[in-house]
């Protein structure tokens, strides 16, 4: 009787402890397994993450290259004027405080670029004259943009057969000056280079008329021209060089 009592007492006392200890052991064993599994999963996750990251990077690169390819194809398809050859180049530098003043090209005298060569850009499949080369080094060239507030050149509206002076103002809108009051200028008219200043050949598109104001007392019309190309996002350009 006392033996049974002691046995039961011990059983009563130890059985939950053992069971709990066993549970605890199996839990810890599982935990080690789980930790091992977790580490493996973590490593796998890192690997997958890096794969995804590289895929995202590749996709981004692909999109950039596609866009670049499109722009370069447009440049290649650009039909040069007779007696001009095209030197394509990438814009390698542009400073914030001279955003509408100048850009730096990644090609220079070594590629045949010369001083005062006209520069054309293509954006969204539209071509437009953007300026001329004002400084040339062996492997770079500085282009003064038409939007610069110290740029001005002769421009004409073919439909109206009128010629004026297009002037930059430090922003992506031109002013077409010296257009006579009687000139038939309409919104949407294409403005092209007139070829009179000596720097630019005639017929290169510059922009489209977006606003015409007629002052009854004045001698000339106040004409606003929006560039054909997006000056804020010039990436690749074609430099027109005279010669074979």
């Amino acid at each position: 009787m006392p033996v049974r009592t002691v046995k039961h007492f011990l059983y009563y006392l130890l059985s939950p402890t053992t069971s709990n200890a066993s549970k605890a052991l199996s839990y810890s064993e599982n935990s080690f397994l789980r930790i091992g599994e977790l580490v493996r999963l973590y490593q796998k996750n890192r690997l997958l993450e890096s794969h995804i990251l590289s895929r995202i990077t590749l996709e981004a690169q692909l999109a950039t290259l596609k866009a670049e390819n499109e722009r370069l194809s447009s440049l290649l398809n650009f039909a040069p004027l007779p007696s001009y050859k095209v030197v394509p180049s990438r814009v390698i530098f542009r400073e914030h405080n001279s955003w509408y003043d100048s850009v730096l090209l990644g090609r220079g005298a070594a590629d045949g670029i010369v001083m005062n060569a006209p520069v054309v850009a293509i954006s969204e499949k539209k071509t437009g004259l953007i300026g001329r080369v004002v400084e040339v080094n062996r492997n770079s060239a500085k282009v003064k943009l038409l939007t610069s507030n110290s740029s001005a050149t002769t421009a004409s509206i073919a439909r109206a057969r009128e010629t004026g002076v297009i002037r930059g103002d430090g922003n992506p809108v031109f002013t077409l000056d010296y257009m006579a009051m009687e000139a038939d200028v309409k919104v949407g008219d294409l403005v092209t280079s007139a070829g009179l200043g000596g720097y630019y050949p005639a017929g290169l598109p510059i922009g489209r008329v977006t606003n015409v104001k007629s002052d009854k007392d004045g001698m000339f019309q106040a004409i606003q021209v929006t560039p054909t190309v997006a000056y804020g996002r010039i990436a690749e350009v074609a430099v027109l060089v005279t010669g074979p």
Binding site: V91, F93, E95, H96, N97, S98, D101, V134, N149
Partner: protein
């Protein structure tokens, strides 16, 4: 010895900052979404290393940037040197440990910088070469980029000290 080390650090900082500026332009500049890297770096250098270092680096960066453009030569050098001086002078009053503060300081510095550049261009050129909309956008980009660049500059300085 210390002077030589400072000079080497200045040169290394100049070339590294310039490289970052050019590389970032390659990927973001053509879309016009580029923060003013040199301005943000000058600001961070001013708050972390003091006026003299920041205004010297800013002046060098500014002159280099001016040299590649066609606007008033020295305008950006002067503006960046001024930002470096201000950042250094007020470094004890500004707690740049928090990203929120870094953003606010970058926005204020950008406004001061653009106001200075605008004034110089108006006085000496008769007109600015950027629009108000773009300046607003660039100011926002500077604010966003500042915490990243500030942390980078902090690491760069500690790396140099450890070396």
């Amino acid at each position: 010895m210390k002077t030589r080390s400072s000079f080497l650090f200045l040169l290394a900082t100049f070339f590294t900052g310039w490289a970052i500026h050019v590389v970032l332009f390659r990927y973001l500049g053509t879309f016009g979404v580029l923060p003013s890297v040199l301005l943000v770096l000058t600001l961070s250098l001013g708050t972390l290393r003091g006026s003299v270092f920041a205004e010297t680096a800013g002046f060098m960066w500014g002159l280099s940037a001016d040299a590649l453009g066609t606007t008033l030569f020295g305008s950006q050098g002067l503006a960046l040197a001024f930002i470096g001086y201000l950042a250094g002078a007020f470094r004890r009053q500004i707690d740049m440990d928090y990203p929120q503060m870094q953003i606010i300081v970058a926005v204020i510095a950008s406004i001061v910088y653009w106001a200075g550049v605008y004034l110089l261009q108006i006085i000496f050129k008769g007109g600015a070469s950027f629009t108000f909309v773009e300046v607003c956008l660039w100011t926002v980009f500077n604010g966003i980029a500042c915490p990243v660049f500030h942390s980078g500059v902090r690491k760069w300085i500690s790396l140099w000290k450890a070396g």
